[in-house]
Symmetry: C2
């Protein structure tokens, strides 16, 4: 293995100069620099990255903690993160937790051991105290979810507004009995979407009916199951706003399985705009969450933090919009908001 000292000898300089050429070229006289670069090329020298990491206590690697990489919405965010990282010569270490909190805590050690320079969380299962400690010591960005009681850089969308827009869309179409299937109530994001839904119903003067509000867990199966229950009501809803596209698909499947038509006998709005929501039949009208952009933005904020120790925590709210497809029928034209 050819090392720095070999290059130095060939170029008749010290290792310090070779190091400078590599990390801080302007600080070296041009003729010297060229001499060194020629030696590097001639010997086909490759710096030992591990030595460098050790010496500098930096790895140019960040950790992404994701509940489940199989889930489209998360893999899209990771895609955005990876792209931004690669552009800035950073690597992405994957921390898949399978929604297992212990695994999540395990991964945090990678930060403490300085195996990664920073972290992006696509999941908010860690307790506030641990997170606060972490955030004080290391660059961390939280994406999609957000928390109360932790001062942390966050990238998210306005879930209250999004929930309201989704419900308003159904109201505009003339629906009076509009159900909502939320994500797990344990997440602020789910509660906010519910709040948006409640705002829309209340402001429009429609009657609120508790039985039309149900809790799911974002999965197809939970959407299917909750819809089955809704269909059993003597006065069933004519429209459903589901807090994820997967649940919306479950809703539609359950409805079709009862011999009812979507659209026609039920209007459905989903959330996320995952790729399959346009492939599904009917195409799902949904609130588009800009997942790739969210990933991108979070990585860029993390880089800012990494490069600037005095970085102040920021809350970034990205735009999202309603994408109209077939699942509600076509009584409304064009985009909303």
């Amino acid at each position: 293995m050819v090392k720095m000292i070999d290059v130095a000898k060939l170029a008749n300089v010290s290792t310090a100069t070779v190091s400078r050429v590599l990390r801080n070229p302007e600080s070296v006289k041009e003729t010297t620099r060229e001499k060194v670069l020629r030696s590097i090329a001639e010997l086909n020298y490759q710096p030992n990255v591990l030595a460098r990491h050790f010496r500098r206590s930096k790895t140019n690697t960040i950790l992404v903690i994701v509940p489940n990489i199989e889930n489209t919405i998360f893999s899209q965010m990771v895609q955005g993160i990876e792209a931004a990282a690669a552009q800035n010569n950073f690597r992405v270490l994957l921390g898949n937790t399978n929604r297992n909190v212990d695994k999540e805590y395990d991964f945090l050690n990678l930060l403490r051991q300085r195996q990664v320079d920073g972290m992006i969380l696509l999941s908010g299962k860690i307790d506030n105290q641990t997170l606060n400690e972490l955030v004080e010591q290391y660059p961390v960005v939280l994406v999609s979810e957000y928390l109360e009681g932790v001062d942390i850089t966050t990238v998210c969308i306005d879930n209250v507004t999004c929930g309201r827009i989704a419900a308003e869309h159904l109201i505009k179409l003339g629906h009076k009995r509009i159900a909502h299937i939320s994500g797990s109530k344990g997440t602020l994001l789910s509660r906010d979407r519910l709040i948006g839904y409640l705002q829309a119903i209340t402001h429009s003067g429609l009657k609120l009916d508790d039985r039309l509000i149900r809790e799911g867990d974002f999965s197809f199966e939970s959407g299917y199951k909750q819809m089955q229950e809704l269909l059993r009501l003597e006065n069933r809803p004519t429209a459903v706003f589901a807090s994820s596209d997967e649940m919306a698909m479950g809703v539609i499947k359950a409805t079709k399985d009862q011999g009812l038509k979507v659209p026609g006998e039920l209007a459905v709005v989903g959330f996320d705009n995952i790729r399959f929501s346009s492939i599904f039949d009917p195409g799902i009208t949904t609130v588009a969450q800009p997942a790739i952009e969210m990933g991108n933005t979070s990585m860029e904020l993390l880089l800012q933090h990494l490069n600037d120790p005095s970085f102040q925590h920021k809350k970034i709210m990205l735009k999202s919009e309603l994408v109209i497809r077939e699942s509600c029928g076509w009584n409304v034209k064009g985009k909303v908001e």
Copy 2:
């Protein structure tokens, strides 16, 4: 930062002993070991992983090169890889190439720089010569795709047989005009599935019709487009075997858009068994590729290689099976091996 020497002093031993307790506990007398462990706990000592990586020229990290992490079939494989890695105290570095060959070559440097101990390829765009050089020097496993002219450990399924089974299923249902939409012909895997299809058609005595064989690229869009062309034939097919579930969905969408029914007026078999193939309406009959298991297996082979320098390259072929859903109608019962 508390370091090994601090622990050593507190425990009245040398750093070597502390190191042994950490890496090779059996080689230390029990009483000494306990003394050291107590000191570690008392000081809350965390080993400096970067120093260890440097010293040992090993990182306990592997690289996964994936064409597109957004794509379900790949994210499932990655899921399997990550799970097996985590279990063995290995990390996974994500190398998303977006099907960009240059990025793929870039990532290879992580191996050469020893930033990762090994690599799993979910994509086969690298030229044989480079790959051969790499495989000689570093542990590498190729998953799903396979190559001629490179002696490399491979985890895959029997695509010829799978292609044959898919086509045979349609033949058994009584179809005479069965089309095939392949993946990109550049991949052996696509060619093998096509071969399987050809075998089935030929053996059954059906007439081969070139116009029924079309090339896609695994995407929904390509399935849609190729199906549009097939529908324009004066003698259109009554069944289609598509080489991916996404293409199968494109096929179904295109057919429905022409006012035809699936199943009923067209039978469709897909490939992969991604999550959405059961959610899609109609549920897609498909050749199940055990993506998570493939990921798992590949990681385990990589670990074997990492732990055993004399490891001999292996070719592992995993079982896959036809999953019957609604997209072909219900004339055949149960599973077909």
